[in-house]
C-alpha cells in the first residue's frame, strides 16, 4: 500500500475542513472496506482522517418521533437497539444479514452506506474498471457476470451496491445528515446512491469533503410489520444475490400501504416504486404480488450470467410479501 498520513479528528467540523482542503484525504471510520482497498491498491489516499471518535455513536428519539442514528453507531449496536428492533424490524434484520459478527462490530452506520461495490474487477487492479479508473473499460460486462446488476445499468458499469442496511433504509425513506464545507444538509434515501450512467466512479451524490454525521429514520408505523429477506448461496457471510426489504399494511384483505426495496440488483439500493404503486389498493394475494414484482422487473436488462436474478427477484418479492401477510393474519 502507498504510505499515507494518519490523523484522528476530534470533531466533525475540523474533519470536514481538513478533508475538504486536501484532494488526497479520505475519511476512515470502521475501516472494514477502506483498509482492504488500501492493501489491494484500489484506494491510495495521501491522508487518512479517522473520524470514528469524532462522530456520534448514539441512537436517540427526536421530539417529532423520528429516530436519529449517529454515524459512528456500529452495525451490531444498531441491529440490537430496542427502538430499531421494535419499530423497524426490517432494518435490524438487514443489518444482521450482512457480513459477520466481527465485521458488524467494527463497521459504522456512515461507513456502511459508503462501502463500495465488491465487483471482483473493481477490486483487482490488474483489470480495467471504469469505476476504479474512469475510461479504462468495464471488465464485468463481458466477463464474470453472475453478480452484475440487472436494473439501472449503463454501458460503463454493471456493479451492484453491496449494503444490506442501505436497502432497508431505502425502503424506510430515511434521511442522511451530511456535513459539508458549506454546512449541514439532508439527503433522502433513495437519493444518496446514484445509478452509474456515464460517471460510475461516483457511487453517491456526496462531494469530496462531505461527511455523514447521522441517519434519521422517519416515524413510520407501517414499518413495525416489516422484514428483510436476503438470498444467497451461502447461509451467512455472503453478499446478496437478491435481497428484499418490505413493509406491508393490509386492511380488510387489501394492501393499504407497502414499502419495497431491492438489493443485489442495481448500482444503488433499489426502491421498487412501480411495484408499490401497482400493489396499493389491490387485494393482498399471490397474483397481485407477482403482478407487482413483474412490473418492477420489467425494466431489467440482465446479461447471460445473471438472467436468473430476474425470476429470483420476482420470487423473492412474492415470498417476502407472503411472509408479511401471514404475519398480519396471526
Amino acid at each position: 500500500m502507498k504510505p499515507f498520513d494518519y490523523t484522528r479528528a476530534h470533531d466533525p467540523a475540523s474533519a470536514v475542513q481538513t478533508v475538504a482542503e486536501e484532494p488526497g484525504a479520505r475519511y476512515l471510520a470502521g475501516g472494514t472496506n477502506l483498509v482492504d482497498h488500501l492493501k489491494l491498491g484500489v484506494a491510495a489516499p495521501e491522508h487518512v482522517v479517522d473520524v470514528r471518535g469524532a462522530l456520534d455513536e448514539t441512537v436517540t428519539e427526536l421530539e417529532d418521533g423520528r429516530i436519529r442514528v449517529g454515524a459512528a453507531v456500529s452495525n451490531s449496536a444498531l441491529a440490537a437497539h430496542p427502538l430499531v428492533r421494535s419499530r423497524y424490524p426490517l432494518l435490524s434484520a438487514a443489518l444482521l444479514a450482512g457480513a459477520s459478527g466481527q465485521l458488524r462490530n467494527a463497521a459504522t452506520t456512515g461507513g456502511n452506506l459508503l462501502q463500495r461495490t465488491r465487483c471482483p474487477y473493481f477490486q483487482n487492479t490488474t483489470t480495467p474498471c471504469n469505476k476504479r479508473e474512469p475510461g479504462s473499460g468495464c471488465s464485468a460486462r463481458e466477463g464474470h457476470g453472475r453478480d452484475n446488476a440487472v436494473l439501472g445499468v449503463s454501458q460503463e458499469c454493471v456493479a451492484t451496491h453491496p449494503s444490506d442496511m442501505a436497502v432497508a433504509l431505502t425502503a424506510l425513506g430515511a434521511e442522511v445528515r451530511v456535513l459539508g464545507p458549506e454546512g449541514e444538509r439532508g439527503v433522502p434515501m433513495p437519493g444518496l446512491h446514484r445509478l452509474p450512467g456515464h460517471r460510475p466512479e461516483h457511487d453517491t451524490v456526496l462531494e469530496h469533503g462531505d461527511l455523514i454525521t447521522a441517519v434519521d429514520l422517519p416515524a413510520l408505523p407501517l414499518a413495525a410489520r416489516s422484514t428483510y429477506r436476503k438470498v444467497r448461496e451461502r447461509a451467512s457471510y455472503a453478499f446478496a444475490l437478491v435481497s428484499v426489504a418490505a413493509a406491508l399494511q393490509i386492511r380488510e384483505g387489501v394492501v393499504a400501504d407497502v414499502r419495497l426495496a431491492l438489493g443485489g440488483v442495481a448500482h444503488a439500493p433499489w426502491r421498487a416504486h412501480h411495484a408499490e404503486q401497482v400493489l396499493r389498493g389491490e387485494p393482498a394475494t399471490e397474483e397481485a404480488f407477482r403482478a407487482a414484482a413483474d412490473a418492477e422487473l420489467a425494466q431489467a436488462r440482465p446479461g447471460a450470467d445473471n438472467a436468473f436474478k430476474v425470476p429470483l427477484a420476482v420470487n423473492t418479492i412474492c415470498a417476502t410479501l407472503r411472509s408479511l401477510t401471514t404475519q398480519e393474519d396471526r
Partner: protein, 699 residues
C-alpha cells in the same frame, strides 16, 4: 468407540498436545519464527495468461526507502536444476499463466515491499491464450505414466456390453476448478548464511519438511546437509503444501541475494490462487450398463481434465470405477489438455473426490431409473474380490457402512419418489453415496527413540498440519514401548530430525506410525523395560508393511438431508451423517475431526466452491474468501461422523488405515442426490447454486 485395552494410549481421545498453545496464540507458525534482521518479500505477478516479459523497469521501486533488492529474470541467480519447471523462478522472460512470478521486491517492512512491488513496471507482450477446458477439447492427450500411472484401464468388452445391456445410463458430470484455502496461507522465512559453503534455513508452512529440503537442495545445487527446513506448526494444507512451490524458490533466491537476513514471505490470499496449485476442472462421462435387476454389466468412466503447460498433473478421477463395484466389463480413461493456467496440484483426495462425485451420482441415477433403493443397488454390485487386481479384500466393509449408516441416519421408510416431501417453502430430500480411499504407506520414514530422565523422546521429521499427528504418534509410541503416554515426548516438523514422508495421501500416520512401532520394538529388544540413561534405538518403515496379497482400502457411506427453497432455489443441508471403516481408530478425537472436516469440505464442494475463470483474461476472478465461498458455520448445521470398531493389521502394525481424505470422497454426490430427491431436478454440474433449481422449478 474405543478399540483398545483400557491401559493403552491408543484408542483414547487425547486432546492435541499443542492444542492449548495454539488456542492461546503461543504456538509459533513458520512466519512467526524469530529471525535477526528480517526483511520482507512481495512478488510481482504476470497479468497476462501467456506471453513474454519484454522489459522490467525497477528504478522507481529501487528508489523507495527501505527497499533492499528488486529481483527480475535478469538479475536473479541461475538455478542449478530446473527440470521441474515450476521451480524455474525468474529464469527466463516467458509467461505461462496469469499470476506467475515475474519480479519481486525485498524491503525492510511488508508495507514498503508491497508498495514498491506496485511500482515495478513489467512490460508484457501478450500471446493468444486458452484457459477453458471444453468437452472434447482439440488438444486432449493421454497423460504420461509419471502424472497418471495407468491412465487407461480396460477389462472385458465394455462397448459390446453397453450395446447389449437392458438398461444403459449415459451421463456427463462436471466439477469446476477449485482452490485449497487453508486458514494459514503459504509462508516461508528463508535465511542464507554464507560462511563456509553456506547454509540455508527455511521456516516453511509445509506438509513435509524433508520433501522441501530434498527438492530445494536440488534446485539450488546444495548438499542436503546445507539445508534445514523447520515447520513446527501448519495451519492446514489439504495437499497444497505437499510440495514446495515457486514461492519457496523465490524466498530462497532472495535470501541468497541478502545473506544473513531472514527473508519473510507470506503469500496474500489472492496470490495463493495462482501459485500453490488447484484442483483441475473435470468433465466426466459415465456409462453404466445393467440388468433390470440392477446388476452392473459394464462401467465406462472417461474423465477430461486440464493441466498446465509448465508441468503435467493429472487428477485421476476415473480410478474409483476400477474398484468400487462388480461389473465384468469396464473401462476407465483420463485425458488431459495443457492450458495456459496455473499448475494444478493436490487438493484433498485428488482423483477420488471429483471421481466419486460423478460415479456415485450415476449410481443414484441408475437406482432412480430402476426404481430401486440406492443402497440395494449397491448391495447387488458388491464385488467379492477387488475387480481391478483380483485380490481378496483386506477389509471391505462398504455394505456394513451403508446398512448400519442407514439405520443410524433413519433412511428406512424413505419415499423414493422425488419432490414428495415439503416443509413450508422448502422441498426436502435425502441422499446417499459410498466412499472409498486406498490405503497408502510410504516406505522410508525413520523414527528414533531416546531415553533420558524418565522420558522417552520420539524424533521423526513428520508434519502435523492440524491433523493431530504429533499427539497420535505419541500414543502409538507409548503403547509400543508399553509406557504411559505422559512419558513420551514427540519432536516433529524439522528436517534435522530423521527422514519422514510427506503428510499426504492419508498416509502420514500409517507410514510414520509403522516406523515408530518398529523403532519401539527395536528399543525394547535392545534395552528392555528399564532402559539406561541415553538408551536409544531407531528403525525405518518396513517396505513390506502392507500385505501385497490383499486389496487394502477404507470405505464409508455418506447420508445427507437437503432442503431446497421453492421460491429461491437456495440449498441448505441441515443434516449429514457418515459411517466409515478406517481400521483401528488411534485417537477418536482427532479422527472424528478429520472425518467431519472432510465432510464439511465435501459439503463446501457441493454447494459453494468454484474458481471462476474469466476466459478473456485468463484470470481466476474470485481470489479471496469473500468471493471464493467455502462452507462457513451457518452452512454446517449437523455433521456427524462415526466409524466401525475394527482393526486391520494387514494395513499397519497399529491396525489403522488412513482417515484424512475419505471424509470428502462421495460427500458431494450424497448432497446432490439429496437435492435431486428433494426437487426432482438433477444437477450434473457443481456447485449446486440456487439458480440451477430456480430455473427449472420456478414459475
Amino acid at each position: 468407540m474405543s478399540t483398545t485395552s483400557p491401559a493403552g494410549a491408543v484408542g483414547r481421545p487425547l486432546p492435541r498436545t499443542e492444542g492449548e498453545a495454539k488456542v492461546a496464540g503461543h504456538a509459533p507458525y513458520a512466519y512467526e519464527q524469530p529471525v535477526r534482521d528480517p526483511v520482507y518479500l512481495h512478488p510481482v505477478l504476470s497479468t497476462v495468461a501467456r506471453g513474454r516479459v519484454v522489459a522490467v523497469e525497477t528504478a522507481e521501486a529501487q528508489e523507495r526507502p527501505g527497499v533492499r533488492v528488486v529481483l527480475t529474470h535478469e538479475n536473479a541467480e541461475r538455478l542449478a536444476r530446473t527440470g521441474d519447471r515450476e521451480f524455474a523462478v525468474l529464469q527466463e522472460p516467458v509467461i505461462a499463466f496469469r499470476g506467475q512470478i515475474v519480479a519481486a521486491v525485498v524491503a525492510e517492512t511488508p508495507e514498503e515491499a508491497r508498495y514498491a512491488a506496485s511500482l515495478v513496471r513489467v512490460q508484457e507482450r501478450a500471446e493468444e491464450h486458452d484457459v477453458v477446458l471444453t468437452q472434447g477439447h482439440p488438444r486432449l492427450y493421454r497423460p504420461g505414466e509419471e502424472a497418471a500411472p495407468g491412465a487407461d484401464s480396460e477389462q472385458g468388452e465394455p462397448d459390446a456390453e453397453l450395446e447389449r445391456a437392458e438398461v444403459v445410463l449415459d451421463r456427463t458430470y462436471r466439477t469446476p476448478m477449485e482452490h485449497n484455502n487453508p486458514m494459514e496461507p503459504h509462508t516461508s522465512i528463508a535465511l542464507w548464511e554464507d560462511s563456509g559453503q553456506g547454509h540455508l534455513t527455511l521456516y516453511d508452512s509445509t506438509q513435509g519438511p524433508h520433501t522441501v529440503r530434498e527438492t530445494l537442495s536440488g534446485v539450488f545445487g546444495l548438499d542436503p546437509g546445507q539445508v534445514r527446513v523447520v515447520s513446527p506448526h501448519v495451519g492446514g494444507g489439504f495437499g497444497s503444501k505437499g510440495s514446495p512451490h515457486a514461492h519457496n524458490v523465490l524466498a530462497v533466491v532472495a535470501a541468497r541475494a541478502l545473506p544473513g537476513h531472514g527473508v519473510k514471505f507470506a503469500l496474500t490470499r489472492q496470490q495463493t490462487f495462482s501459485l500453490v496449485g488447484h484442483r483441475s476442472p473435470t468433465i466426466q462421462r459415465l456409462r453404466l450398463g445393467a440388468d433390470r435387476d440392477g446388476r452392473l454389466r459394464a462401467v465406462v468412466h472417461d474423465s477430461e481434465e486440464h493441466t498446465s503447460t509448465v508441468k503435467e498433473f493429472a487428477e485421476q478421477s476415473a480410478v474409483c470405477s476400477r474398484t468400487m463395484y462388480a461389473a465384468p466389463h469396464r473401462r476407465s480413461t483420463h485425458r488431459l489438455t495443457a492450458l495456459d493456467v496455473p499448475i494444478p496440484f493436490w487438493m484433498r483426495a485428488p482423483g477420488e473426490c471429483p471421481g466419486m462425485y460423478a460415479s456415485e451420482s450415476a449410481m443414484d441415477e441408475l437406482a432412480h431409473e430402476l426404481d430401486m433403493d440406492p443402497i440395494e443397488l449397491r448391495e447387488r454390485n458388491e464385488p467379492e474380490r477387488d475387480p481391478q487386481s483380483g485380490r481378496p479384500w483386506s477389509d471391505r466393509s462398504l455394505l456394513r457402512c451403508l446398512r448400519e449408516g442407514a439405520e443410524r441416519f433413519g433412511w428406512h421408510g424413505r419415499d423414493r419418489r422425488p419432490r414428495a416431501r415439503r416443509e413450508g417453502d422448502w422441498w426436502v430430500g435425502t441422499g446417499v453415496a459410498a466412499a472409498f480411499y486406498p490405503h497408502v504407506v510410504i516406505p522410508g520414514s525413520q523414527a528414533r527413540i531416546e531415553y533420558a530422565s524418565g522420558c522417552y523422546t520420539l524424533r521423526i521429521g513428520a508434519a502435523d498440519i492440524g491433523t493431530g499427528a504429533r499427539t497420535v504418534l505419541g500414543q502409538i509410541a507409548a503403547d509400543a514401548l508399553e509406557v504411559p503416554v505422559e512419558r513420551v515426548r514427540v519432536e516433529i516438523g524439522d528436517s534435522s530430525l530423521p527422514q519422514a514422508s510427506v503428510a499426504g495421501g492419508s498416509s502420514g500416520t500409517s507410514s510414520w506410525g509403522s516406523a515408530v512401532v518398529a523403532a519401539a520394538r527395536a528399543f525394547t529388544e535392545e534395552h528392555g523395560a528399564a532402559p539406561g540413561e541415553g538408551a536409544r534405538a531407531a528403525a525405518t518403515t518396513p517396505e513390506e508393511t502392507v500385505a501385497e496379497d490383499h486389496a487394502v482400502y477404507s470405505f464409508g457411506a455418506h447420508f445427507a438431508e437437503a432442503w431446497v427453497n421453492d421460491d429461491t432455489g437456495e440449498v441448505r443441508v441441515p443434516r449429514m451423517y457418515g459411517l466409515f471403516s478406517v481400521g483401528r481408530v488411534i485417537n477418536p478425537r482427532t479422527v472424528r475431526s478429520q472425518l467431519i472436516g472432510g465432510m464439511v469440505m465435501g459439503l463446501s464442494m457441493a454447494l459453494h466452491e468454484h474458481s471462476v475463470v474469466d476466459e478473456r483474461r485468463g484470470l481466476v476472478v474470485n481470489q479471496d474468501l469473500a468471493q471464493y465461498h467455502v462452507a462457513a458455520n451457518a452452512d454446517v448445521a449437523g455433521v456427524q461422523a462415526e466409524w466401525l470398531e475394527q482393526s486391520d493389521t494387514r494395513a499397519t502394525p497399529m491396525g489403522s488405515r488412513g482417515a484424512g481424505e475419505i471424509g470428502i470422497v462421495g460427500t458431494a454426490a450424497a448432497v446432490a442426490n439429496a437435492a435431486h430427491h428433494a426437487t426432482g431436478v438433477r444437477v450434473r454440474e457443481l456447485p449446486l447454486t440456487p439458480d440451477r433449481f430456480l430455473v427449472e422449478t420456478g414459475p
